[in-house]
Structure formats: C-alpha cells, structure tokens
C-alpha cells in the first residue's frame, strides 16, 4: 500500500511546512504544499491527491471559490476536501458545507488530531 497523498492549500507557509513535517513524521502520508488558490487548483489537477486540506480565508482566491472550481472540474470533483477554518469566514464555511457536504476542522489543530481527521474522512470516502 502506497503513501496517502495530501495536498494542503493555505497561504500560511510555515503552517503548511509544519503540517507536512508532522503528517509525514506520523507516517504513511505524503504532503504537497500550495500557498494560494490558483496554485492549489493547478496542483490538484496535476497530482490528483487522495485528500485536500483547504484554508477558507486566503488572500486572492478564497477557499470557497477554490472548492467550487474543484467540484466543477471532473478531474478533481471526487477528491474529498477538508476545510481549514479559523472562524474568520463563517458564512463561507456554512455554504461550503451545505453545497458539498464537506468536512471542516477548526484551527488550531495539532499533528495527531489532524491525522486522525484525515483518516476518518478517507475511511468515509472509500
């Protein structure tokens, strides 16, 4: 069984790096980083990850728009998305959940909690 591939889309570069280090340290996960929405969509299409961690509130293209584009594209529509929220954009989070029935987690979250959530979502999607 190969590594589970995760794409994290978040403008907080240090956060992304630490998530990558944590998840990869905890085992069986490989993490790719995108620090903005456009790059995230491009990488999603290209690498087709097993799961996407998507920050809701980013400068430029917002998380909700990224989600909508991913869900409209047949190459990425089946990829489960876990939204990362710092409770700064409640309406977007609510809308995303209503539209796409996606999971969300609230920051701050530590490595093991994040890994547990990823595993839970992947189990549901299999």
């Amino acid at each position: 069984m190969g590594l589970t591939r995760i794409l994290i889309i978040d403008d907080e570069e240090n956060f992304c790096k630490l998530v990558k280090m944590n998840l990869e340290l905890l085992g069986d996960l490989s993490v790719t980083i995108a620090t903005n929405g456009k790059m995230g969509i491009k990488l999603a299409k290209k690498t087709k990850p097993d799961l996407i961690l998507l920050d809701m509130l980013m400068p430029g293209m917002k998380g909700l728009e990224v989600l909508e584009r991913l869900k409209k594209d047949e190459n990425t529509m089946a990829i489960p998305v876990v939204m990362l929220s710092a409770i700064g954009d409640e309406p977007s989070k609510t809308r995303a959940m209503e539209l796409y029935d996606e999971e969300y987690i609230t920051k701050p979250i530590d490595g093991p909690q994040l890994k547990a959530k990823i595993e839970e979502v992947l189990r549901r999607f299999k």
């Binding site: 907080e12 240090n14 956060f15 630490l18 998530v19 280090m21 944590n22 340290l25 905890l26 509130l57 710092a86 409770i87 700064g88 954009d89 409640e90 609230t106 920051k107 701050p108 979250i109 530590d110 490595g111 093991p112």
Partner: protein, 438 residues
C-alpha cells in the same frame, strides 16, 4: 253753664288749667330730654360702630352716615348728606332695579359683595347688608345699610389661596422630583444595560476581527509543538515539559478567542427541550477533578420530574461550568457547593444587584430554577455591579480571563432566560438561573 260760674270758681278753674299746662310742659320737657338722651345714645352707637352705616330715604338720597363711613370713603359728613347714594358705590348699587325691588319685597339683604368708591376714586370691596324702615302704616320711609370693609379679609383669603397654591405647587414639585428620580434611575439602568451591550458587542466585533489573525499563528505553534513532541526522545524530560507548557498556553489563548467569539451575534442556538438535571450532572462531571483537588463537597438538592427546559444543551452546560469554576476559585480547601433545581411560579421580578438578562417572563409563569451556591469568599457590592463586564476579573494573572460570566450572560440572554447573582462577603455567592419551560 259758664255764665253760671262765679268769679271765684272761674279763678280756681284757671289755676287748675295753668297747673295742667305746667305739668304738660314738664312732661314734654322730660320727654324731650329723654328723646335727646335717646338720640345721643343712638348717635353714640352709630358713631362708635366699626362698620360703616348709611341711611337713605325712599328716593335713595343719603340721610345719615356714620364716622366709619366718612373715614372709609374720605368724605366729610356734609359732603354726603343729601347726595344720591350712588356716589359711594363703584358700579352696582343695591338700590337700583331688581336688587332694590328684592330688597323692598324681602325687607332686607345680607352680605352682598359690592364695592364702595372713595372720594379719590379708589374702589373698596365691602360686604353690604341692608334693612328697610317702614312707618306704622307699612310705608317705606328709608333704608339702613351697613357695610364691612372686606379688604383685609380678601387679603387674608388671597394669602390663604396663595399659601394653598404654594403648598400644592410644592407637593407637585415633590411628586415631580420623585418621578424624575424614578425616571433617572430607570435611565441609569438603561444606560448601564446599553453600556453592557456595547461592551459585549465591541468584544464580539474585536473577536471576529482577531480570531483569524490569532488562530493562524496558534496553529503554527501547535503544529511545531506536535512535531517536537514526536521527535524528542523520552529522556528529554525538561524539553517535553516545556512543550507541554507551550501547548497549555496555546490552549488557553484558543479558549479566550473561543469565548470572545461567543459574543458574536451570529452565534445561533440549537434550542431543544432538555432535561436540566442531566445538563447539571454533565457540567459537574466536567469540573469534577477541580472539586476533588480542593476537597470541595458537592451537595445536591435536585428535584426530579421537573419539566424540560428550552435550551441549547452545550451552551447552558457552558454557563453552569463557568459558574462552577468561579465557585471553585472563590473557595479555599474544603468548601461546599450546593446545587439546586426546582420549579417555581414567578410571583414578582427580583431586583437584586447582579441580576441581568431581558425580562421575558410573565408573572405567574412556570419556570425552572437552577441554583449554584458556594461557601466562598463572596463578592463585594462594588464588584457585583461589574461581574458581567467582559474582562472583569478579581483573579490573579494565572486565573480567569474575565470572560466567563459575560459569556454566560450572553448565552442566558440568547435563551431569553435570567441570571441573578447574590453574594455576601465572607459567606458566599449564589447564582440563580431562571429558564423557560419547553
């Protein structure tokens, strides 16, 4: 027969007549003396009268006036005698038209309010009484009038009226002052509530604004902590302990942000009929460790079969936990906490210090009451006014955030419920929560 009388007899007869004449003259003189004395007597009475007196003939010509009349009106006696009575009246005289007719018919008038006019033209209010004089045939021969100067009486009456008006005005002022005081108090309460609402709203806005900015760095810290915790070998005890402290600090900061976010008006409640006793038990379980640490005894006086309340379980639990944590903080070791729940029909609104929440209850409404009482240090009156203010805390820096009770108040308000805190220094504090029956 006269012819037959002799000279002697005639002389005797003349003597008798003379004597009779003398007697008669004597009688007349005596009668006149008496009359003069009577007149003098009557004149004296008239003169010494304090009230004014006038006598007029049937043609309303003044025949007699007394001294008091002359003094009052500034006339000499001779200036009035023979003059029409109208000259001493200001406008209306009782001796004209219908008034005169009535006077003659009824033979008298009593205490008529009219005005005299003095020689200089000043008008003097008088109370006038008149009486008709008739001869033995019943014919009118004159009218006697007595008038009393009413100026002093009127002045006294006016004074009395003014005093009464002043008293009424003073009473009105007192009532107004009382109303003003009540209105001011009400205004102050409203102002307090507005300030409170403003503080909550400001805290909510602030929270919304900073939550994202603070939570992202916190996420970085906690991810870093997780990584290092995993990487460090178990022998690095100090480093692991330091990471534990950092984690605790992040948790605390996150909790404060979470509490601040609770002020946000967009927070929605998930209201359902809930059993308040089980919410209470859950809350107690959450803080059980802290009770045990301080050896605090928890006494329950919980009524079973109380109706379900309309509540967001998680939120009400948060309120109970906040109050329980405050109670634990307020007590030294071996204190006591008494938990009560019961049904109460509202008889009147309580009005204690520390009572907050919109009054959504009706007198007579059945409510569920939860009481959490401690035997702690108590809260001073001064502090009791501030306990619901965001960031108000009496605990040292290691203790609370000063947000627990303001968040609780916000939750209570959203539930249209009431929270009332009563406290006595040295005796303890009691939180009374009134909830709506589902």
């Amino acid at each position: 027969m006269e012819k037959n009388l002799n000279k002697k007899e005639k002389g005797a007869e003349a003597l008798v007549s003379q004597k009779a004449l003398f007697n008669l003259l004597g009688d007349i003189t005596e009668a006149m003396d008496g009359l003069a004395k009577t007149k003098e007597y009557v004149d004296n009475i008239i003169k010494s009268m304090i009230d004014t007196l006038i006598v007029i003939d049937p043609d309303t010509i003044i025949k007699t006036v007394n001294k008091a009349t002359c003094e009052l009106l500034g006339y000499k006696e001779e200036e009035l005698i023979g003059k029409p009575v109208a000259i001493i009246f200001a406008e209306v005289t009782p001796f004209k038209g219908a008034r005169m007719k009535k006077l003659i018919e009824e033979n008298s008038i009593k205490d008529h309010g009219v005005a005299y006019k003095t020689k200089s033209g000043e008008e003097i209010p008088v109370s006038f009484s008149g009486s008709v004089m008739r001869d033995k045939h019943g014919d009118l021969v004159g009218i006697v009038g007595i008038a009393r100067d009413m100026r002093e009486i009127k002045r006294l009456m006016q004074k009395e009226k003014e005093l009464a008006a002043q008293a009424a005005a003073a009473e009105a002022d007192r009532i107004k002052a009382r109303e003003l005081e009540i209105a001011y108090k009400k205004l102050q309460e409203t102002q307090d509530m507005l300030i409170q609402a403003e503080k909550l709203s400001a805290a909510g806005q602030l929270a919304g604004g900073v939550a994202h900015e603070v939570k992202n760095p916190l996420s970085i810290i906690i991810q870093g902590v997780s990584y290092l915790e995993k990487k460090l070998p178990p022998k690095e005890r100090d480093s692991i302990e330091i990471l534990g402290m950092i984690r605790e600090g992040v948790d605390r900061a996150d909790r404060i942000i979470g509490l601040l976010l609770d002020f946000s008006k967009e927070t929605k409640l998930d209201l359902r009929p809930e059993d308040v006793n089980s919410i209470l038990e859950n809350s107690l379980t959450l803080v059980k460790a802290k009770f045990e640490l301080k050896n605090i005894d928890v006494k329950r006086d919980i009524k079973k079969d109380i109706p379900k309340v309309l509540a967001d379980k998680r939120r009400i639990e948060q309120v109970f936990v906040n109050i329980l944590l405050n109670a634990i903080q307020a007590m030294s070791e071996e204190g006591k906490i008494i938990i009560r729940s019961y049904v109460k029909e509202l008889k009147e609104a309580t009005n204690g210090l520390g009572r907050r929440g919109e009054d959504h209850f009706q007198i007579g409404e059945k409510t569920v009451i939860v009481e959490i009482e401690d035997t702690g240090a108590g809260i001073s009156k001064e502090n009791l006014k501030k306990i619901f203010d965001p960031f108000f805390t009496t605990k040292d820096s290691s203790g609370g955030t000063g947000l627990g009770l303001s968040v609780s108040l916000n939750i209570i308000k959203m539930h249209k419920a009431l929270i009332d805190i009563k406290s006595q220094i040295g005796k303890g504090t009691k939180a009374i929560i009134t909830l709506k029956v589902a």
